[in-house]
């Protein structure tokens, strides 16, 4: 097992720059990882200034969300919205907590997201493994292209019939959302996984097979642990999608008690569209969980997403 892990470490090391192999003829470019130290260029202050100024466009909307959420309606009316409130009004959060039924929406979203990620990781990887190892057989090749072709189908064409179908099957709830995210993610995830699985040497499996391990056992004990980097990638993509998705919960979920966070903001906005201060507190609370997770795992998230998009 230790050899397998070292192979994995090497594989992972090579992977972010793996895309270059096709271009650079297998030669690892000098400016790959750890370029911070061997980058001998002079610091480019012009670029630094420009990048810093442009990054304000990202930060200003977030700042606006925070300051509006900290104001009373009276403080808001008088200015443009950007002024720092004095005194700060924390009451909006308590009010939003209650009026949007925040705990319920948070629970729903968390449940759907965690469920989708777990099921996606377990199912997509198994399917991808079977496909990757048998891609020379017509049946598996056919399935692979069947799933791939689905990437071209836009959601609007499924939307209307799907709503009827989920209602008939009793899946117009949180469980149904988990099922749908798991299935609809399959196309892209299988695509991401298979490319990686095919780079895992088949000898690793054969050693286990010779020792009498079944295909399932080989998968769980040899392959699945080796998939860690791809599991991270697929997990991040699924998590962000399930947490922030709006259109699918909007059309599928019927019970108000099943509302997700984005859906709760939509409903609240529709009912009280001028109560900005309370609404903004609610928006902040809806965005905060994922934002906080991102801040603490920023490098890991970015490298995960990058790995999934360049192959």
């Amino acid at each position: 097992m230790t050899t397998a892990t070292t192979t994995l470490a090497q594989a992972e090391e090579a992977l972010p720059t793996g895309a270059t192999d096709a271009v650079g003829g297998g030669r690892r470019p000098r400016r790959g990882r750890g370029r911070e130290s061997d980058d001998t260029r002079r610091i480019n202050w012009w670029a630094t200034a420009l990048i810093a100024v442009c990054s304000l466009t990202v930060l200003i909307p977030l700042y606006l969300a925070v300051v509006v959420a900290l104001k009373t309606p009276d403080q808001l009316v008088s200015g443009t919205g950007f002024e720092w409130p004095n005194p700060v009004n924390w009451g909006n959060f308590a009010e939003a907590w209650q009026r949007t039924n925040f705990p319920q929406a948070l629970t729903n979203t968390a449940l759907i997201t965690v469920g989708s990620v777990v099921f996606t990781l377990l199912t997509s990887s198994i399917v991808a493994y079977a496909l990757a190892r048998n891609i020379h057989r017509p049946f598996f090749k056919g399935v692979f292209f069947y799933l791939l072709a689905a990437l071209f189908i836009p959601f609007p064409i499924i939307m209307l019939p799907l709503v009827k179908q989920t209602a008939i099957l009793g899946l117009d709830n949180q469980a149904g959302m988990i099922v749908l995210y798991t299935i609809y993610g399959l196309s892209l995830n299988v695509f991401i996984y298979t490319a990686y699985i095919r780079s895992i040497p088949i000898e690793l499996e054969e050693a286990a097979r010779v020792d009498g391990a079944s295909t399932w056992r080989v998968f769980w004990q040899v392959i699945f642990p080796l998939l860690a980097p791809m599991n991270a990638t697929v997990g991040i993509l699924t998590c962000v999608w399930a947490w922030n998705d709006f259109i699918m919960p909007l059309v599928v979920l019927t019970d108000p008690a099943a509302r997700t966070l984005p859906l709760a903001q939509y409903v609240f906005q529709g009912q009280f569209n001028t109560e900005y201060t309370t609404a903004f507190a609610s928006y902040l609370m809806a965005m905060a969980p994922l934002l906080i997770v991102y801040i603490f795992s920023q490098r890991w998230v970015i490298s995960g997403v990058t790995r999934g998009s360049i192959k």
Binding site: A130, H136, L160, I183, T306
Partner: protein
């Protein structure tokens, strides 16, 4: 078959690993049953929840089903009516205008920022992290913040300009630009990361050689950088155009299709007509056309853009 196996076995004396793998592949023509068990449930589930709705949708597009009650076959009349419906044509016009402008802006801006992040700058990892923040935010929710900005802050800040003073979002001619701002703001996060990883695949020696030959910064970009990140450019352009054509969330949060129906996208029209307008069959026909349009556009783009890519 057994002679072939025999030949493989004898030719690789010593029974190397490769020989064993080759023999396995020849011996078992059918895959092990476990592999079929791994794939079948997923295929069935996918067919039931993805392919089946597509087929049902196509089926109902030939009927006059309103979403409830009885229905009859009407042949191709839904399709014929689509091409005469001003609201549908306007939605396609809006979607394409929006998608093309947003795609160009997203790619120009994110390529510029990726170049900046790829230069030697102070706090590169910090800024890279900042630019990726919009990716983890729900576009609907941050869209409401933008909506406040356009309707309440901007009229006070730029009170000298009539267009902004009167609330950009209520202008039938210009409300779409606000949607472009929001959509580009979010889409750049992902595009920057892809461009950045593309830029990091270019060996530094190329630039050194080019500057020895006296090539300036613009010349280096045009002759080295841009051709070498061609694949990343293709991916970004195709993905962003496909995504922008299906725009939904930014519109809901900013204008909800208004004023009037001036910012109604195809997806929004299908959603509204199909669920509350009693046009189930009609809008599924619209969705079928939309699917064909998106597929054709994507394939066409791949064709055109891939021809321009360069290799080492």
């Amino acid at each position: 078959m057994s002679t072939l196996t025999q030949a493989v076995r004898t030719s690789t004396t010593g029974g190397t690993k490769r020989g064993r793998a080759a023999r396995n592949r020849v011996e078992t023509r059918r895959a092990m049953p476990a592999f079929y068990w791994m794939v079948w449930p997923a295929v069935i589930a996918f067919a039931a929840f993805h392919t089946l709705p597509v087929i049902i949708g196509i089926f109902f597009s030939f009927t006059n089903y309103a979403g409830y009650g009885a229905w009859n076959f009407v042949g191709l009349s839904n399709y014929a009516n689509l091409f005469r419906d001003d609201r549908v044509l306007a939605a396609y016009g809006f979607s394409f205008l929006f998608a093309i402008v947003a795609t160009i802006l997203t790619n120009v801006i994110s390529l510029a920022i990726a170049l900046g992040l790829n230069a030697k700058i102070v706090g590169r990892n910090f800024f890279r992290g900042v630019y990726f923040v919009p990716y983890v935010l729900a576009i609907l929710v941050i869209g409401y913040v933008f909506q406040f900005f356009f309707s309440n802050s901007l009229p006070k800040i730029l009170s000298g300009i009539p267009l902004f003073r009167d609330n950009l979002l209520t202008s039938p001619d210009w409300a779409w630009t606000a949607i472009v701002v929001l959509a580009v703001w979010q889409a750049c996060a992902f595009a920057i990361i892809i461009y950045l990883s593309g830029l990091q695949t270019i060996p530094g020696e190329l630039y050194e050689a080019a500057s020895l030959d006296g090539a300036g910064a613009w010349r280096q970009f045009r002759s080295i950088t841009f051709p070498l990140i061609g694949a990343f450019f293709t991916i970004n352009v195709v993905l962003s155009l496909k995504g922008f054509l299906q725009v939904f969330d930014p519109i809901v949060s900013l204008t909800n299709g208004g004023p009037g129906t001036s910012t109604e996208s195809v997806t929004l029209l299908i959603f509204r007509g199909g669920f509350s307008g009693g046009e189930f069959a009609y809008q599924t026909a619209n969705a079928v056309i939309f699917f064909i349009v998106i597929t054709v556009v994507s394939l066409f783009q791949f064709r055109v853009l891939q021809r321009r890519e360069a290799d080492f």
